[in-house]
């Protein structure tokens, strides 16, 4: 069982970020949706800072991108074509 002192498995968390986005590849996801989804699929829950790092890693790798939603004042994330290819989405 995971404890509070366990560190999140970052490579796994990065993959889970993409996996969440792949559930609806034509849609955009808020940070909260990604965090909630990813944490349901990892043995050690990650905090927001770790999830942000995982998202940013995917951004840096060209797998995800975002748009700023002015109405809601938040970034919304989605898989890039490269990210979709990585997830095996045609």
């Amino acid at each position: 069982m995971a404890t509070k002192t366990d560190k999140p498995d970052m490579p796994l968390l990065r993959a889970k970020v993409r996996e969440v986005l792949a559930f609806a590849p034509q849609r955009k996801f808020t940070e909260a949706m990604i965090m909630d989804g990813a944490n349901r699929m990892v043995p050690v829950p990650a905090d927001l800072a770790a999830v942000r790092l995982a998202i940013e890693w995917n951004l840096g790798s060209g797998y995800v991108d975002y748009v700023y939603n002015r109405d809601e004042d938040r970034d919304e994330w989605f898989l890039t074509p490269r990210g979709k290819a990585k997830e095996g989405i045609k």
Binding site: E19, V20, F23, A24, K28, M33, R40, M41, E76
Partner: protein, 201 residues
């Protein structure tokens, strides 16, 4: 979508996956251990050996995916509805609304009809807000005009000996104002008396 190599279960056909979920949801009884343990037993009987953590992760993945698929389907349904009901709506706006509904649905709140109603309500509120902002802008403009006009009058009256005389008199402010009005708006009063102009009450 590609299933990960860390899960044998995600690569199984959809019906098999549904069967596993049904096993995992089986309640405990006198004859059945129920839950994940029961699903593990059944999988093992089918020759599929996985750890409880793999099974647990699969169940989470499956329910999460089901939620997002459902949210996506509902959003598409509303997009189609909006397309047919409101041809004036741009594809971009429809996509935005579909996206907003997807987010709402994914967060387990609302349904298509409620969303459409909410959106109409929002449009009405937006219209009211817009009208309010126009009124406010008009008020600000009127006020600015009034202030500029007052300053202009002050500057012109300041040079006027009669105005200064009234201002320097020992009359009360109310009487000074009355005298100034009589002096400078005499022509307006006259026109009004003759029915030439109608001042608001």
């Amino acid at each position: 979508m590609k299933a990960r190599s860390d899960s044998k279960l995600k690569t199984l056909p959809e019906e098999r996956q549904e069967q596993i979920i049904a096993w995992a949801k089986t309640p405990k009884s006198e004859t059945c251990v129920g839950g994940l343990a029961y699903a593990l037993e059944q999988l093992a009987a089918d020759g599929i050996k996985v750890s409880i953590s793999t099974l647990s992760e699969f169940v989470s993945w499956w329910s999460l995916r089901a939620r997002y698929l459902s949210a996506d389907a509902r959003a598409k349904q509303v997009e189609e509805l909006l397309k047919s009901k409101d041809p004036s709506m741009t594809p971009e706006r429809i996509r935005e609304l579909g996206q907003a509904l997807f987010t709402m649905e994914a967060l387990d709140s609302g349904d298509a009809e409620t969303f459409v109603n909410l959106e109409h309500l929002k449009l009405k509120q937006d219209s009211a807000k817009f009208k309010g902002s126009l009124d406010l802008a008009k008020y600000k403009l009127d006020r600015e005009k009034f202030e500029v006009e007052s300053c202009k009058r002050f500057l012109s009256w300041f040079k006027d000996a009669r105005a200064r005389e009234i201002a320097d008199s020992g009359l009360s402010n109310a009487d000074k104002i009355a005298r100034l009005r009589e002096t400078y708006f005499a022509d307006v009063d006259k026109l009004e008396a003759e029915g030439g102009i109608h001042l608001p009450e």
